[in-house]
């Protein structure tokens, strides 16, 4: 079977500016891939090409083996998408909207009715199912957008910043909905500029900047590759500059940033054993360590360093 998403040398040229630049990417079946990059990296542009909203200036993009730039109708048959925050027809209700989109996809009436009930429940919009969408809030529309993307039980979901426009609770709910899909035969390709969100939902990431792919792989492998991480340390007694100095000379410590007198952050590079040794060495200095915690996620430093390198 074909990989659900295959992007080959994809390029999008906006009057000489390459928003997407010879991008190559494969998303395997049942993988959840986070498409990460700073604002303006080219995430939305890539996703718009995948979803028939933009034409490509060059290259191909296959969805379930069909080139969406040539045959969008068949390429999009098994795909659900949420791009930007879409607007809905204000005169239609959620039920009518789902009925419309479902019938365009060839779903039977009974199937549409059953799925409509299910997806509206999933996104907690049942209460509003018969209200015209006209005055819905952005958050409600975003939920509905997610509902319509899932109406036909597609195996591939393409999402552009799926939690944008939602309040914190809505964000958690959407993340839970997406995590729930792990149980089924789903492939997710979702863009985000939020690292934590991607780490929560996806096991793989594709990093993009200036239209070019910087890295692609499982979160675990990418993190291993960088090796460095930030460790937050809290001490019972205040520490002086002598102690800080000593710690900065320990093996693997790249940097130490003091916070308040009982608190500092270490950027550390090394294996697990080295990290364990660091802790015991600090204790031999007589420090009463209250907390020794990895923060600032290693992916973040990878992300930052890759982006820095590409600039």
């Amino acid at each position: 079977m074909d990989d659900p998403i295959v992007i080959e040398n994809l390029t999008k040229d906006f009057n000489g500016f390459k928003a997407v630049d010879s991008l190559n990417l494969k998303v395997e079946r049942k993988s959840f891939v986070g498409f990460l990059g700073p604002n303006g990296a080219g995430k939305t542009t890539t996703i718009k090409i995948l979803t028939h909203l933009l034409s490509a200036s060059g290259g191909q993009a296959y969805l379930n083996g069909v080139d969406v730039t040539k045959d969008p109708k068949n390429a999009l048959a098994g795909v659900g998408a949420v791009v930007e925050t879409p607007e809905f027809y204000p005169y239609l209700t959620p039920i009518e909207t789902l009925q419309y989109l479902g019938s365009l996809r060839g779903m039977s009436n009974e199937y549409i009715q059953r799925r409509t009930k299910e997806v509206l429940e999933t996104v907690k919009m049942t209460e509003w199912s018969k209200t015209r969408i006209g005055k819905f809030s952005k958050g409600m529309k975003q939920r509905l957008a997610i509902a319509q993307a899932m109406i036909h039980e597609p195996h591939v979901l393409i999402l552009d910043e799926p939690t944008s426009g939602l309040d914190p609770r809505g964000m958690v709910e959407v993340r839970n909905i997406l995590q729930d899909l792990r149980k089924g035969d789903y492939t997710i390709f979702m863009s985000s500029h939020l690292l934590t969100e991607v780490q929560e939902i996806c096991e793989s990431v594709a990093l993009i900047d200036r239209g070019k792919l910087l890295a692609h792989g499982s979160v675990a492998t990418l993190v291993e590759g960088t090796g460095s991480k930030d460790i937050d340390v809290r001490i019972l007694q205040p520490v002086d500059s002598y102690v800080i100095d000593r710690i900065s000379n320990f093996e693997g410590v790249e940097r130490i940033v003091p916070g308040d007198p009982r608190h500092f952050t270490i950027t550390f590079k090394g294996r697990e054993e080295d990290q364990a040794r660091l802790l015991s060495e600090m204790q031999t200095l007589g420090l009463k360590i209250v907390s020794f915690k990895e923060i600032g996620v290693a992916l973040e430093s990878l992300y930052m360093s890759l982006i820095k390198d590409s600039r």
């Binding site: 933009l54 925050t85 809905f88």
Partner: protein, 272 residues
Amino acid sequence: MTLPSDLVQSGIVARYEFLKHLRSRRLLGIFILEIAIIALILLIPPLQGQDYPSDPAKFAGMFVQWVWILIVIGSTLFAGDSLVSEFQQRTGYLLFPNPVKKRVLFIGKYAASAGIMFLALAVFYAVVAVFVISVDGSISGLMASSFGLAMLFGVAALSIGYVISSFMKGSTGALILTFALLLLILKIVDGVATASKARPDFSLTFSSGVIGYIMETPYPTDFVQTIDFGGRSFEFANYYPSVTVSIVVAIIYIIVTVALAIWLFDRREMSA
């Protein structure tokens, strides 16, 4: 689950687009306008101390010469921003990622607009027929011809609205341009052509005159008027569109503009 054919999909699009039009306040606006036009025309003869024409064709003719205005307003409201809004209101983000060709979306929307135009014109002609029958006791068969021509020119005007809709950036601009083009710009062209004694057959507004003239027996023919003004005489040409030429002109407008609108819509990107 197999995808429906293009034809079935365009039917689905048409059905929901039609529903959208039915629920919009614009359709109500058109109906109110129709009532207003009919009421005004009914008021004029009594105010002038005259009876309504006893010839049903003549009586109906008083109303149907205003149909072009209705068509222009209908085209503005039901075609002018039909495509623009998908981009400007961002509903395209919902619609375009579905497994359906852009041209199928176009055809569905176009069919729905034509359906609404039919509804608007049918209501107008029906109300006129009711008044004509209640005053004159009978109705002229020419009204059916006029209605058929009105529908043809209605669709031609819609097609122009769709071209404008396929490239304009904003709804307001598209609406204004559609309205101005159909009502003012083409009329000015007609006037300039006529003044320089060239038959403006190519103009849709000129040709649309058949909708009203068809009610006249005999059908009016061209003539040249000489008017003396300050010792000098001026010649004014009066041209009347021929029925066959007008029909051909309308059909050419439809074919050319629909092809152009589909081509533009197909290529237009969801970039904002």
